[in-house]
């Protein structure tokens, strides 16, 4: 048990350390050690990384059967069996894998930022935000309950907002950060509804203490709770509310992982500094939605699975189409990220749980590296991001070129043909596709031929992925320079920037198969625990056991030859002058041009949302405001007006009829008035005193009325 406590302590340290360094970095203003902020937060992050990896090795040495849990009561729920909403830490195999990945990437991005953000006037704030982001992300990973997860989920949203909008002087980042947050909140709305339904339906049972007085962790016990509540419970014939709750919670993931139809914020988020894109909007935060879906997996019903798989499928297809035609180097990567997230979501929906999460890890390394490389290029090109002005940069930036090329191979899923040996993306993507084959076959009875789409979609997009990534590579690093001035001034990035790229590229190769135990085996540890607790609808986490799917996936992917073909095609078309002319001519063909425009304008989603969501929302808001001002307030003012008219009528009556009789008293009144004038010195203080006295008089009068009425 000793090592288990150590693991919890180490991981808790890794969680809290970035928070502390973030708060301190805020204090390092321009007067006090401004420059130290970068180094300081990087070192703290490194310490957190070492702690996590050390904890990881302790874990591997002594894997406990049940997750390690530490629960702290937070919000009291009186009258409910559980008594509290808990904050706290839960550690299982998946947590360990995620912790090691996130801390490592975060450390490398901190280091990279020292180079990239050098000379920025809000240097210290950038590192404060970045560390705060790491804290929030680690909080999601370590969360012991849906509640804790949601807390850090929202903090991630906040830090993402701050980081996208870091250069808030410019209009682009302003709009992008707002869009990202609001889109995320739309997803959160679904999340809250799902949480609310679960909360009501399962009530205190959701958080019941396990044996030994220690409250169980929420995720693993979800299914257990369901079974206890209803002995006849079966996932194949679930109550409707469970499907609704599952889809509701998944909506949170749609927002955070930028899935269709809430995907439009992610490409816009590229307005943030590139280090931000490399960690927040590719490697970690957007993966949080996948992580959430993985955690709530035990309660997802077949209906919810189908919904999730469909969303994933749509996303991965449309995103790949858009990635094909973009000119901005970061946008290509952004759409590529969307597409890869679609793979993970589809994988989860299809039941390829382990491989979806494994893909999350491998994707994090190569996508982070790709973004860092693009950042180095943008840095060298003086913030020109349009690939039409690049070309031939490989000669000027050999290290960056090499890293980019390696990661292109990784995302392509490159392998030695006719063998099972490849680099990381090969293992993870193959598993997902194999899972979709099995899923499509299982669906066959329900949908007939349409169910084949769940397998053909990701397969076809796997080809497209290689193609659009090769296009980026070729346009940027190969061929002739298209902007001589830009080319002449280009240079290799400083070591703070290329070193992290190299480490990430190494990880992209080595994440599998060499580091397989750290990633896939740990993920499978959680997978097995889930299976043992009765989750029967999850596919095996070992490639050989995926059976027919694995066989099929290999066969359809031409035993690994496909990637070579697609890379060759990409190089021919985009690295040579003749190829480029052919592409240009092809795009001009009537039908093709139409489709090209459609892709290039992002399927007009943004325009659609601007009109129907934003425009409509603003119009309703204006209508409400007008209603408030003219109708509701109109009634109020009308009441006042009518009362005034009535008062003036009675006043006239009083003057002419009643007062006529008392006119004789006027003289007396005048002399009395002279006397009273001396008490009106025109000073507010006296008025106030008088007013206060008369107020007391009013109260007394009320009193008298009460007494008399008795």
């Amino acid at each position: 048990m000793g090592s288990h406590n150590t693991i919890i302590n180490l991981l808790s340290f890794a969680l809290v350390a970035p928070l502390v360094s973030s708060l301190l970095a805020i204090l390092l203003t321009r007067r006090v050690m401004f420059k130290a902020a970068g180094v300081f937060t990087t070192l703290v992050m490194l310490a957190a990384c070492i702690a996590s990896w050390y904890a990881g090795f302790l874990w591997m040495g002594d894997k406990p059967a049940a997750p390690l849990v530490c629960n702290i009561p937070w919000i009291p729920l009186h009258g409910m069996a559980a008594g509290y909403l808990y904050l706290g830490v839960m550690v299982d195999g998946l947590t360990i894998a995620m912790m090691c990945m996130v801390t490592l990437i975060s450390t490398l991005v901190h280091l990279y930022s020292i180079g990239y953000m050098n000379g920025d006037k809000r240097y210290n704030r950038f590192f404060a935000y970045l560390s705060l982001f790491s804290f929030s992300m680690l909080g999601i990973v370590l969360a012991n309950s849906i509640m804790m997860l949601f807390v850090f989920w929202e903090l991630v949203g906040l830090t993402s907002y701050l980081l996208i909008g870091f250069w808030f002087e410019k209009r682009g980042p302003q709009l992008a950060c707002k869009k990202a947050f609001v889109m995320n909140r739309i997803g959160d709305m679904g999340f809250l509804v799902g949480f609310g339904i679960l909360f009501y339906q399962l009530g205190g049972r959701l958080l019941l203490p396990a044996t030994g007085g220690q409250p169980a962790n929420m995720f693993a016990s979800l299914l257990d709770v369901l079974m206890k509540q209803d002995p006849n419970f079966s996932i194949s014939n679930p109550p409707l509310w469970l499907t609704a709750a599952g889809i509701g919670l998944f909506f949170g993931a749609i927002g955070k992982s930028a899935q269709f139809p809430l995907h439009t914020w992610l490409p816009d988020a590229m307005e943030g500094p590139t280090p931000v894109s490399s960690i927040v909007h590719s490697a970690t935060m957007v993966a949080a939605g996948v992580y959430l879906t993985a955690r709530i997996y035990p309660i997802l019903t077949p209906g919810a699975h189908l919904f999730i798989a469909t969303i994933g499928l749509i996303t991965l297809v449309i995103a790949a189409c858009m990635a094909l035609v973009m000119h901005d180097i970061k946008r290509v990567l952004a759409y590529s990220t969307l597409s890869q997230l679609g793979y993970m979501i589809l994988g989860l929906g299809a039941g390829a749980w382990s491989f979806a999460l494994f893909h999350l890890i491998t994707h994090a390394f190569f996508k982070c590296c790709l973004f860092q490389c693009s950042g180095s290029v943008i840095h060298a090109a003086h913030h020109q991001q349009d690939m039409r002005y690049y070309g031939g940069l490989g000669r000027k930036m050999p290290i960056t070129f090499a890293c980019f090329a390696i990661c292109t191979l990784a995302i392509a899923g490159a392998s030695i043909p006719y063998t099972d040996i490849g680099i990381s993306g090969f293992y993870s993507k193959d598993g997902i596709i194999a899972g979709t084959v099995n899923y499509g076959n299982a669906l066959g009875g329900l949908f007939g031929p349409i169910s084949k789409l769940y397998f053909w979609g990701p397969t076809a997009v796997a080809y497209l992925t290689v193609f659009y990534m090769t296009r980026s590579l070729a346009l940027t690093f190969l061929g002739k320079p298209r902007d001589q001035h830009l080319y002449d001034n280009a240079h290799e990035a400083p070591w703070q920037m290329w070193l992290p790229q190299v480490v990430l590229a190494v990880m992209a190769i080595a994440a599998a198969p060499i580091l397989m135990p750290m990633w896939l085996s740990n993920i499978n540890h959680t997978h097995d625990a889930m299976v043992n607790s009765g989750v029967t609808w999850v596919q095996p986490g070992v490639a050989e056991e995926l059976g027919q799917g694995m066989h099929y996936a290999h066969a359809k992917l031409l035993h690994g030859l496909s990637w070579i073909i697609m890379i060759a095609a990409g190089l021919v078309l985009f690295a040579t002058e003749g190829g480029k002319k052919a592409v240009a001519a092809f795009v001009k063909l009537p039908g093709v041009g139409l489709i090209h425009n459609w892709f290039y304008n992002k399927f007009y989603f943004d325009a659609l949302y601007d009109v129907f969501a934003v425009g409509l929302g603003k119009t309703i808001a204006l209508i409400c405001a007008a209603l408030d001002k003219h109708v509701i307030d109109g009634v109020v003012n009308l009441t006042g007006f009518v009362t005034k008219i009535a008062a003036s009528l009675t006043g006239r009556f009083d003057n002419r009829v009643v007062d006529g009789a008392v006119n004789g008293a006027a003289t007396a009144a005048r002399s009395g008035g002279d006397m009273l004038r001396s008490t009106q010195p025109g000073r507010i203080r006296v008025y106030v005193l008088g007013a206060f006295a008369s107020a007391c008089f009013v109260v007394l009068a009320v009193l008298v009325v009460v007494i008399v009425s008795r």
Partner: protein, 524 residues
């Protein structure tokens, strides 16, 4: 301790008189000192209360016969329902006095009126006698009327009169109910002196009296009318749509510190009074009408947020955000669940901190720019980085970001809206609704209320973008830097937002026994 409690009510009164007769600078110091002394008294009481709180929670009761012919008593005391709000009042008051430091027009009178107001507010929270409560409820109106009417903006007279008349109209409703209660209570057969007529709130919510107002009881008709009359009185104060239009006007015209206390404490008198009077007095009616109340709450959440989104006046936007946030209080109470009540109460405390902070943040810029047009601002974050940081905290706390104080109340109320689906009390005694109806209502209301989080993010972020982001404007060059006094206020409120966002038990430890007995009255 009971005498300390009474001192707490009247120390500000004494300070007010002193302020009236002292010169400008001295008046400020007197006011600050008075506020600090009151704060100290409230902290002493809170610490003591924490150690001795009894089963029902009511402590330190003073009962002195006041107007014996109508059995009106001077009866004060504190319990878990009032204590956190008392602490909110006393601590905000210190900051409000600090925020008023720049008031140059008749400073003494301003401070005196403010201190009178403070007495009124504390009196409302601490009185346990309906009559005394009513007197304080009215007394707190008057200083506010003058504070807006004299120190306000261009349309101050209109705003002040609107505020006054609106609340007064509500008070009349309350008065009717009070008279009814006074004449009905003897029928309960309680063994009380003076023929059984009483204003004692604790007696009025005791079982024999409630039996009269039960569904099908002797005075069920009266109970239904009384429930709505008191609700109207307090919904106006809260304010809930459609009784809210006095609020934006009052806020826009009121000077910054007065806006802070208006949003921070005065609105809470409405929510507090519902929990103290409406719900425990007429629980059967509350079960009967829960849907209507809940719908009012949800309308306020959504409608308030939409109105806020359309505003171009910065302060009006914040004012409408108060309407939206107070909708959560109404909704939480309507669900008649423990989680809902706890959430509604926490929402009041949380909003007390965030709204005061938001109004102060607006005031800081207004003092320099002399206008509040959102579209004319921009780039404030570049001009004042530190202030921008606190603004970020303040507005995100208002948005209900986890870890900040706006979140806990909101999430609890939202969860309670769903939990209401399983609340058997909501079916109604006569079987007015089926369980399926309740479920359908609660799901629908929960989903719509959840949509509020999107709208809230929308109007806050849109405002934040237009005011804080972008490049500095040339006219900012002559703006005075943020001074230490302003930083103190922002820091105090900002830290409060963080602390109460992380440690909810600071409030719940005080409220638990009282809410236990309150919710047992409501049948949950």
């Amino acid at each position: 301790m009971a005498s300390l409690l009474n001192w707490m009510i009247f120390v500000p009164c004494i300070g007010a008189v002193l302020c009236l007769f002292s010169p400008k600078q001295a008046a400020k110091s007197v006011a600050l000192l008075t506020a600090l002394v009151t704060l100290l008294l409230s902290v002493i009481i809170a610490v003591d209360y924490y150690t001795v709180q009894g089963a029902s929670g009511v402590q330190y009761v003073t009962a002195v016969s006041w107007i014996s012919s109508i059995n009106a008593e001077y009866r004060t005391g504190v319990d878990g329902l009032s204590l956190p709000l008392v602490l909110l009042t006393t601590s905000l008051s210190v900051l409000v006095v600090l925020a008023s430091w720049n008031i140059e027009k008749a400073t003494g009178a301003f401070m005196a009126l403010y201190l009178f107001l403070m007495s009124g507010m504390l009196g409302v929270f601490l009185s346990l006698d309906m009559f005394l409560f009513y007197v304080f409820f009215e007394i707190s109106l008057l200083p506010m009327y003058f504070l807006i009417g004299i120190w306000g903006g261009p349309r101050k007279e209109y705003a002040a009169i609107k505020f006054f008349l609106y609340t007064l109209a509500g008070s009349i409703c309350l008065l009717i109910v009070m008279l009814g209660l006074y004449f009905i209570t003897p029928k309960a057969g309680l063994n009380l002196p003076n023929a059984g007529n009483t204003w004692d709130m604790m007696v009025l919510q005791s079982l024999p009296v409630r039996m009269l107002f039960a569904n099908g009881g002797e005075y069920w008709g009266f109970a239904q009318a009384a429930f709505w009359l008191t609700m109207i009185a307090f919904l106006i104060k809260l304010p809930a749509v459609p009784f809210h239009t006095w609020l934006p006007d009052a806020h826009v015209e009121a000077p910054t510190p007065i806006s802070m206390i208006l949003a921070g404490v005065l609105l809470k008198m409405g929510g507090y009074a519902m929990m103290r009077i409406t719900y425990p007095f007429f629980p059967a009616a509350a079960q009967e009408f829960w849907v209507y109340v809940a719908v009012l709450g949800v309308i306020a959440i959504i409608y308030g947020a939409l109105c806020a989104m359309a505003q171009t006046d910065w302060k009006k936007l914040v004012a409408y955000s108060s309407v939206s946030h107070m909708g959560y209080v109404t909704l939480g109470l309507a669900t008649l669940t423990r989680v809902g009540f706890d959430g509604a109460y926490y929402q009041m405390i949380g909003h007390g901190i965030t709204s005061a902070l938001m109004f102060f943040l607006v005031g800081v810029v207004y003092e320099r720019a002399h206008h509040r047009e959102i579209n004319r601002l921009g780039g404030i974050w570049l001009k004042f980085p530190g202030y921008g940081g606190w603004s970020l905290l303040g507005f995100f706390a208002g948005m209900g970001l986890p870890g900040l104080c706006g979140f806990i109340g909101e999430i609890m109320v939202l969860l309670s809206a769903f939990q209401a689906a399983g609340n058997v009390n909501l079916i109604g005694a006569a079987g007015a609704r089926s369980a399926a109806d309740v479920q359908c209502w609660s799901y629908t209301l929960g989903v719509i209320a959840a949509a509020g989080v999107v709208l809230t993010a929308g109007y806050i972020l849109w405002m934040f973008q237009r005011v804080y982001m972008g490049v500095e404007k040339p006219e900012y060059s002559h703006y005075a830097p943020i001074n230490a006094r302003e930083y103190v206020i922002m820091t105090a409120l900002g830290l409060g937002a963080v602390v109460f966002g992380i440690l909810p038990y600071l409030v719940f430890d005080l409220t638990t026994p009282t809410f236990n007995s309150l919710l047992s009255i409501l049948g949950s």
